[in-house]
Amino acid sequence: MASRAGSLTASDLVAASLHGRKRDIGGGIFQALLILALFVSLLVLLVLLYDVISGGISVFSERGADFLRGRLSIVTAATAGVGQGIFGTLLLTVIVVLVAFPLGIAAAIYLEEFAEDTRFNRFINVNIRNLAGVPSIVYGLLGLAIFVKLLAEFTGGRTALAGGLTLAVLVLPIVIITSAEALRAVPHSIREAGYGVGATRWEVIRSHVLPSAAPGILTGTVLSLSRAIGETAPLLLVGAVTGFLASGGASLYEQLYGGYTALPVVIFRWASLPSQDFRALTSAAIIVLLALTLTANALAIILRNRYERKW
């Protein structure tokens, strides 16, 4: 509202005369409060990053790659590392990608492209939205009851496979919802053009709809992946190892059907140890985790901004 002398624009003049030359002090305060609220949220982010980085950076400068390769330990801080955690998180991520992405995208294609407005299909839609709001720890219970106990023959109990499947089920609703949104954004004219030249539904989807929706689908899946990477509670329930994990030289099969741990689980375990040495290690492990999830998030945001198309 404060119009600088000399640079009065027409709208400033109109505003000033309409306001009876009274300054809108209340309005200014209101806007300042809004900005303050936003500023507080951003400040929290900065303080958090500063706190974590200043706490954990010494670990990297002192031990460097040794920390990234080190094995899980809750006893000796000097040799403990996040190697097994990183490996476990990557293994779980691969399972999530292989299971949740194809299923989620297929379900989204069905709901958006094939499903007619029947009662059952509406029920599926509502059901998926509700599943997306179920707390992650409840998915842990599901994993515990189904993948660890009921399907023990197939998963081998508390194994990386059971953990990965639990996370896959957890992110499935998010993958479906974001993919469905991306498909919905593709205009009908594109589909009709395909039908017009005699293509079947699947042909239209495969060669026109999916390529157009691909950036949107990719953004959603990457975001859900970042969610899966940071998820801790369900893994604790389905038996991610928190203390000591024997490993070394095992084949991929043995890794899948063996004990496992994950980066956020390591962080949780270390965070609950009272020793100062482990506090620094926790910060360092958080830096690694944030590097993974924030990279995934930033990638998704960049993808969206670059390919966001207005039809």
């Binding site: 809004l34 949220s41 989620g104 509700n130 707390p135 515990l144 958080i286």
Partner: protein
């Protein structure tokens, strides 16, 4: 094909193509139906063990003065109250911050500011809860809570609540912003045309018009806060058990933290005498509370959509 007329068969396409088409449809349908199977799986796995728990445990223990599963005391009131305290503290932070951020982004921010601020909020939303938990324990608790309350313990529900609030703020902001932006521009223009100032327009026209969406944002935030696990498990203390307490400056136990405590305790979730099943009973309770809140918020969101 010799005659000029086209027969029906030619229009239907090759049978092989049609067979492939219906096969694909079935496969996709199956993928979508799987989500129903997941819901059924959740309900049955929770219900089954919860019933076993209720039939084995001495029901009077559900109203015990504390939550000590290893001693056979399952005071539900203790963990429900703990959850309420943490959620309340969280919402005291997240509701005003989230709403203010939403109002600013939707009503005041220039497009360029919006484009830079929104991704930052999304990054805040993408920080894993275990990280916020560590932050709550090592920074919020000593630097904020213990500074204001000298006798607060290192593990306290207020710090956990603030952490949960940080976690929920971006969610509240994003849902509330959607609601504000769906208020038709014509309403704002009519108000400004009458000579109302920006603040008056925002407070008396836009906010009332979007109120059900804002309520939905608060409810979704609450549901998320209630289900939040890692922040509370790390920062609120109460490993092993807790007595009934409403004091936010002291340690406490929430439903979710009680579950992780059972899962990572020394005797793990194998458990004897009902500790294992109590996990599922608490989970069932949590599931129904959050489901009710989610359905409620969905109602409110739909009301906005119907209106405009």
């Amino acid at each position: 094909m010799t005659s000029g007329a086209i027969d029906i068969g030619a229009l239907q396409g090759s049978p092989q193509r049609r067979r492939r088409e219906s096969l694909i449809l079935r496969a996709f349908q199956l993928a979508a139906a799987l989500s129903v199977l997941i819901s059924a799986g959740i309900v049955f796995s929770l219900l089954g063990e919860a019933i076993v728990f209720l039939s084995n445990v001495d029901l009077s223990q559900l109203f015990a003065g504390g939550w000590y599963p290893r001693r056979g005391e399952f005071g539900i009131a203790t963990i429900v109250t703990g959850t309420m305290v943490v959620t309340l503290v969280g919402m005291v932070v997240a509701a005003p911050l989230g709403l203010a951020a939403a109002v600013y982004l939707s009503e005041y921010a220039k497009p360029r500011v919006r484009r830079t601020v929104k991704p930052i909020l999304e990054i805040l939303a993408g920080i894993p809860s275990v990280v916020i938990g560590f932050f709550a324990l090592t920074w919020i608790s000593p630097e904020v809570i213990q500074r204001f309350f000298n006798d607060a313990s290192a593990f306290n529900m207020a710090a956990a609540g603030l952490g949960v609030g940080i976690l929920v703020t971006p969610l509240v902001a994003s849902v509330a912003e959607d609601a504000l932006r769906s208020v038709p521009q014509a309403l704002r223009e009519a108000s400004v045309g009458m000579g109302a100032r920006k603040r008056t327009t925002t407070l008396q026209i836009v906010l009332p018009a979007a109120v059900s969406g804002i309520v939905a944002a608060f409810i979704i935030g609450m549901s998320r806060a209630i289900g939040e696990t890692m922040v509370v498990a790390i920062a609120a203390g109460g490993t092993g058990g807790s007595a009934f307490t409403v004091d936010p400056t002291g340690p406490g136990q929430t439903m979710t933290a009680a579950m992780t405590a059972l899962a990572v305790g020394s005797d793990q979730v194998r458990g004897t005498d009902g500790t294992f099943q109590s996990l599922f009973f608490v989970g069932l309770l949590l599931f129904f509370i959050t489901l009710t809140l989610n359905i409620l918020s969905e109602r409110f969101v739909r009301r906005v959509r119907q209106k405009y």
